[in-house]
């Protein structure tokens, strides 16, 4: 009976397209059940898929993102870029098991964080489970790992705008603060039961819950906006934009892009939390949206009178992946194709026209691709979700209402990320000075900050 009610409610949440597990809720449920029946056991198939997905996301960070970003920097900053990405990811993992997981997915709490009851993974054992969107469960340790990789890659993405000039120590301080005051709360708001945007009805409206299947808002808008703000505070690289700063190895960038695509399925199909048909839908969407976006960027370059470029192809792929993230399980394949194409074209203009126009130095276009692409995706998801566009929605929610919700979620994320980033960046500045000396920037951060050269 209890079980049925729980399942029913979970289904409901699922239908609402809520991004991720409702651990605290189910944990609560367990308590009730304990009396009545044995705890549910994870189906090995779902555990297997979630472990695989977790590793796919890890691969996105190192080597994926490290290569994608690193290839775009100048060779004198290659190791600095790779190491900053790797080290913040490691830091994020340690913080996650200490106070991150409990803040985002612990039990209790309010609409913005879920308390500290699971600090240091208190009470978690190999037998603990986390609920999925059906009556299935997966091992809680697996769920913790899966979510851990999301936190790790999100903070690493932010670095895209500040590489080649930000101190390693500053990066570490920034990451610690930023994860705590920006990432964990936003993840909770969007993905955890009780979360402000997860529950819908924001500001006393009766708007539906926000749709964010795999992190368009939590990961990409969040990272992109934070990257922009951090870059503005940090300032431009010496010589930008007058001095040419061509990517030192587009080969590595292409490799990184490929690994990001492969890994992204852990992100998107993994967010189904099960190896079911919904994961299958997320998977096909992550294929076609990316394919479409990659080709459309090259097409746009042609239309603008340039040659279709390899970097354009790779950038388009990422833009498509970003845009399809919130829509992965919330769209039909053809909705995804459109979404990818639109995001690709818009991001093209963001990085090649908007950025030069405004003159900020978002070194690797973390904002231009993840921020902008994330917004297109978040809002677009409100549209493609509708059945008339081939989406999996049941039509019970009007497109207008859903889009309204999506916009609110976007705005909340933008504001929260911007404010939090200002705080985190200034704390880092206070403690470390934030930026390397002109000499070090000149010589390169590899030798200056790490005492090594990438190539000998």
């Amino acid at each position: 009976m209890i079980q049925m009610r729980e399942t029913a409610m979970l289904r409901l949440l699922a239908r609402l397209g809520a991004g991720l597990s409702v651990l605290s809720f189910s944990a609560a449920a367990f308590a009730q059940e304990a009396a009545t029946k044995a705890a549910p056991v994870p189906n090995p198939g779902n555990n297997a898929w979630m472990m695989t997905s977790t590793l796919l996301v890890l691969m996105m960070i190192l080597p994926g993102l490290a290569l994608f970003y690193g290839g775009l920097t100048r060779s004198k900053n290659m190791l600095s870029t790779m190491t900053q990405i790797g080290a913040v990811a490691c830091l994020a993992m340690l913080i996650w098991v200490m106070w991150g997981y409990t803040m985002a997915f612990g039990d209790g709490g309010n609409g913005f964080i879920s308390g500290f009851g699971k600090a240091f993974l208190h009470g978690v054992t190999p037998a603990s489970t986390a609920a999925t969107f059906t009556s299935e469960v997966i091992s809680e340790y697996v769920f913790i790992c899966f979510q851990m990789t999301f936190a790790a890659i999100t903070v690493a993405l932010v670095l895209g705008s500040v590489v080649e000039r930000m101190k390693f120590s500053a990066v570490m301080v920034f990451a610690t603060v930023w994860l705590t005051i920006v990432y964990f709360p936003i993840a909770h708001m969007v993905w955890a039961s009780g979360g402000f945007l997860f529950e819908g009805k924001m500001f006393g409206t009766d708007l539906p819950a926000a749709l964010d299947f795999a992190g368009g808002t939590v990961v990409h808008i969040n990272a992109g906006v934070s990257a922009l703000v951090a870059a503005l505070i940090l300032g431009k690289r010496k010589g930008y934009p007058s001095e040419p700063m061509p990517p030192h190895s587009l080969t590595l960038t292409m490799v990184g892009a490929g690994l990001l695509w492969v890994g992204w399925f852990g992100f998107n199909a993994g967010s189904a939390l099960e190896a079911d048909g919904s994961a299958g839908l997320a998977m096909i969407n992550t294929f076609v949206a990316t394919a479409s976006a990659g080709l459309f960027w090259m097409l746009t370059e042609r239309v603008m009178g340039h040659k279709g470029s390899a970097l354009g192809f790779a950038s388009g792929m990422i833009a498509g992946l970003v845009a399809v993230t919130p829509a992965a399980g919330n769209s039909g394949p053809f909705g995804a194709i459109i979404l990818g194409a639109v995001a690709s074209v818009v991001c093209y203009f963001a990085v090649s026209k908007l950025k030069p126009a405004l003159g900020y130095d978002d070194a690797l276009d973390a904002f231009g691709v993840h921020g902008i692409g994330g917004m297109i995706g978040a809002i677009g998801t409100g549209i493609v979700y509708a059945p008339i566009f081939g989406g999996p929605g049941d039509g019970s929610v009007g497109i207008g209402a859903q889009v309204a919700t999506q916009i609110i979620a976007v705005v909340v994320a933008i504001v929260w990320a911007a404010v939090g980033t200002i705080i985190a960046t200034y704390i880092a500045k206070l403690l470390t000075g934030l930026r390397v000396s002109p000499e070090v920037e000149q010589e390169g951060l590899d030798i200056g900050e790490h005492g090594e050269r990438a190539y000998n």
Binding site: E243, Q442, E443, I447, G448, G451, E452, R453
Partner: protein, 115 residues
């Protein structure tokens, strides 16, 4: 045919663009550039790999080779010295040679006309 001087300058890599503009300023049509390693008073950064410490004095430099008419040779040296000068050790050197002949492959022109 008017005689020609051949100038080899070793400078700090990040000064290349400036120097090139300066040369264009004094009317130098072209030049040939290569990446070299320089050894001199300037000391290099130490690199450490798993405890193995290498304090190389070999520093990345850029070598510029430019042939110019006698007439402007002095100016050219001047221009390089000024723009490549940071005042700190390692700014580099300028060497001037007399050239027997210079030829433009495309046209076969020689001497100043070859430049």
């Amino acid at each position: 045919m008017a005689s020609v001087k051949y100038i080899i300058a070793v400078i700090k890599p990040f000064k290349l663009d400036e120097v090139r503009e300066a040369l264009a300023g004094v009317g130098v049509a072209g030049m040939t550039v290569s990446e070299v390693k320089g050894f001199g008073r300037q000391k290099g950064q130490t690199e450490i790999y798993r405890g193995a410490e290498y304090s190389t004095n070999m520093l990345p430099k850029v070598k510029i080779e430019v042939a110019v008419a006698d007439a402007i040779a002095a100016q050219v040296v001047e221009a390089i010295s000024e723009t490549a000068n940071t005042g700190s050790i390692g700014d580099g050197k300028i060497f001037v040679f007399d050239l027997a002949t210079a030829t433009r492959i495309r046209t076969g022109e020689t001497g100043e006309d070859a430049l």
